[in-house]
């Protein structure tokens, strides 16, 4: 008789435990709010309110002004060298005159530390919690890109903003590496007092395109 593997042992223990203390079948009551919709204006107002609460800056604009607004943020922050995902719409950078580095997998992640900022698109956003979801699509890039630089300019189309968490989770592709961002990096580890800016980008600027 061979010695059972840890896998066999642990699964055996679980089956024993469930035999010793059988539990009745459980019905999951999903009576919480799902499938909510809100008009454009309310989603914009809610998302803006939440982001500002997290100390992110919010820059609503029409799509045709994207390049102008993005360049304005980068210049204001003194960002002279930025990184962008390979699939980012190049028109968004049309008004920016600094150095743009298109990211690729063979760029060592630590070298991203030399960038002043990063501009990405986003997959979906949740208005009620002020959360932006990045899913690694070509216009959002690999996770390190939106993490290492100290400034993250994130472009959000209002059409991709949903009301609540269930509506946002429903839009995700589970297997994609996904990052939920709710404001700049923060900590409450010192006397439970919230402080913005630890290891992730200390500045999060959100460009919300109200007609896109």
């Amino acid at each position: 008789m061979t010695t059972p593997t840890a896998r066999e042992t642990v699964l055996g223990r679980i089956r024993d435990a469930l035999a010793l203390a059988p539990a009745p079948d459980t019905v999951i009551p999903r009576t919480y709010r799902t499938g909510r919709t809100l008009p454009d204006g309310e989603r914009l107002a809610l998302l803006t309110d939440r982001l500002v609460d997290y100390r992110a800056t919010v820059h609503p604009c029409t799509a045709d002004r994207t390049a102008e607004v993005v360049a304005g943020i980068l210049n204001e922050r003194g960002a002279r060298r930025i990184g962008v995902p390979d699939g980012l719409d190049e028109r968004w950078l049309g008004a920016y005159d600094g150095e743009v580095r298109r990211d690729s997998a063979d760029v060592p992640a630590p070298s991203l530390d030399a960038l002043d900022g990063v501009v990405t698109a986003s997959a979906v956003s949740c208005a009620e919690t002020g959360t932006i979801f990045l899913d690694g699509s070509p216009d959002q890039g690999r996770r390190a890109l939106s993490l290492v630089p100290d400034l993250h300019v994130c472009v959000v189309d209002l059409s991709s903003v949903v009301a609540g968490v269930p509506e946002a989770v429903a839009r995700l592709v589970p297997e994609r590496p996904t990052t939920l961002i709710s404001g700049p990096s923060a900590t409450s580890d010192i006397e439970l007092e919230r402080v913005e800016g630890v290891h992730g980008p200390r500045t999060l600027a959100v460009v919300i395109r109200t007609d896109a």
Partner: protein, 514 residues
């Protein structure tokens, strides 16, 4: 094997003498010292009050908060019922996506697996995301003994590690430290730190950022825990604030995640519940700054070598208890700690375990047992509660902690054989179950008035009641019990007069105003 014979056997607890699931003294003994630490009392009082208010604000603004709690509770219960199939599904999905799954019977085995995996990379350093599971099994100590240096990257864990201290809170391990103490720890322990560093939290956080930046950029291996593991897709989730988690989960070549088997969730959709319950219950935020989700290995993005270690370490023993298993539903939000009056006064260290507070008092004895040695300190944990019930109300997955505490107390008395307390309880029950004896005892109590002091209070009481009279007076028993009064002429007359008034009243005013 037990299953082979068809007779289930009780799964073992976490092996005695391993990990951090047992203190070296009982709760009252440890609390005795902690309660004298005025600084600690102030730090804890201030911090827990702050977080309590924030939590109530953000849970109160959701009209469906109770429905979310019901769903969260049911999902976790359903998960426990189907644990074998869900873990096998998780394993299959992670493996399909290029990850490697390991199983660990206990903390010792998990430590060995992680050490072996790190050694295989050739790295002598490892960066760590805050993880209760690795704290529970004492991974850091094990790694250090093996010549591998673990760097805690969560700010609070860093503070604890630099001070050679122990965590005292699930979410905020350095909650017992205030800004002045943290400043001093940084000045003493961080090489090259600015000697003019002040105590402003933002500047303390900046100092930690500067210190850890180089570690993030150069360390090739990271160890993390996981908040959730989705069986349906193989997706793992880490919920955090600072970005240290994202750094560890993204930059290294190798990622090793240690996850308790109870952290699995059936469906990706279930995240819609827990991503609402967890942040609002833990930090009192609508959403935590960062949550990372990854599924196995993604070419060109993040670690290309991913290992998931599934940890038992007493969880199956808890699962075998029909009442106690509810503790496995815990999502480690720490809301119960923040509302607990006992935790607020005694602090997390008094519990002696990685899991302090109300949930720790029910989880620790189940993972590690409470009768592993004579006067096992864990046997004092179920009694470290006034059963006030605040924890149950705060729990996002509705764990009935007070009932579990009462149940564990019962298991303890059942295990303890004949004790003086048990004899006293039996004697008390014997007297109280016979009204004639009870009445006689009441008369004896009345005679006890003789011991009363001049001001009508009883002086210092003998053991085991001495603790009472240290800080509280006790009124001398009254001359007459209620039943003696009721059967006295005075009692009969008073009740007759009241009834007479009542008869008049009902005639006059049949309906009461509300």
């Amino acid at each position: 094997m037990s299953t082979f014979l068809g007779m289930p056997t009780a799964p073992p607890r976490s092996p005695y003498g391993t990990g951090h699931l047992r203190g070296d003294r009982t709760f009252p003994e440890a609390a005795h010292d902690e309660l004298r630490n005025e600084q600690l009392r102030r730090n804890l009082g201030r911090a827990t009050r702050t977080i309590r208010t924030k939590r109530l604000d953000v849970t109160g603004e959701l009209p469906d908060w109770e429905q979310l709690r019901d769903a969260g509770s049911a999902i976790k219960t359903d998960t426990m019922n189907r644990l074998p199939e869900l873990l096998e599904q998780l394993e299959r999905k992670v493996t399909e996506r290029g990850g490697t799954v390991h199983w660990a019977r206990d903390g010792v085995e998990a430590n060995e697996i992680v050490t072996r995996l790190i050694r295989a990379t050739g790295s002598s350093d490892v960066i760590k995301v805050k993880s209760m599971a690795t704290q529970e099994i004492g991974l850091n100590e094990h790694l250090e003994a093996a010549g591998i240096t673990p760097y805690e990257t969560d700010l609070a864990e860093l503070i604890v590690q630099l001070a050679d201290d122990r965590p005292s809170h699930i979410l905020v391990p350095a909650i017992h430290r205030n800004r002045d103490e943290i400043r001093q720890i940084f000045l003493d322990e961080i090489p090259g730190v600015d000697p003019d560093l002040d105590n402003v939290p933002a500047r303390l956080a900046a100092a930690a950022r500067a210190y850890l930046r180089e570690k993030f950029m150069t360390t090739r291996v990271a160890v993390s825990g996981a908040n959730f593991g989705i069986a349906e897709t193989g997706t793992l989730t880490v919920v955090e604030s600072e970005g240290n988690g994202r750094m560890c989960l993204t930059l290294p070549d190798t990622l090793i995640t240690v996850m308790g088997i109870e952290k699995v969730l059936p469906r990706h959709q279930d995240l819609e519940v827990f991503l609402q319950l967890l942040p609002r219950s833990s930090t009192g935020e609508r959403m935590n700054p960062y949550t990372s989700m990854w599924t196995g290995v993604t070419p060109g993005d993040g670690p290309q070598d991913f290992h998931l270690v599934l940890l038992d370490n007493g969880r199956t023993a808890a699962l075998a208890d029909a009442i106690g298993r509810e503790a496995l539903n815990c999502i480690r939000c720490s809301a119960c700690l923040n509302v607990c009056p006992v935790y607020e006064r005694a602090g997390g260290h008094a519990y002696g375990s990685t899991y302090p507070g109300p949930i720790g008092a029910v989880l620790t004895p189940q993972l590690a047992g409470m009768h592993a040695a004579k006067n096992d300190p864990n046997s004092s944990l179920p009694y470290a509660s006034s059963l006030c019930g605040a924890c149950f109300d705060a729990c996002p997955v509705k764990i009935d902690i007070p009932s579990m505490l009462v149940e564990l107390r019962h298991q303890h008395t059942e295990q303890s054989g004949t004790t003086a307390e048990k004899l006293a309880m039996k004697a008390a029950a014997a007297v109280m179950s016979r009204p004639t004896l009870f009445t006689a005892a009441q008369k004896a109590a009345s005679l006890g008035r003789a011991v009363g002091g001049r001001d009508g209070t009883v002086p210092r009481l003998p053991a085991p009641f001495g603790g009472w009279s240290d800080s509280r007076d006790l009124a001398a028993p009254p001359k007459q019990s209620f039943r003696a009064w009721l059967s006295s002429a005075e009692g009969a007359e008073t009740m007759r007069a009241a009834a007479e008034e009542g008869a008049g009243r009902t005639a006059d005013t049949p309906e009461e105003d509300r």
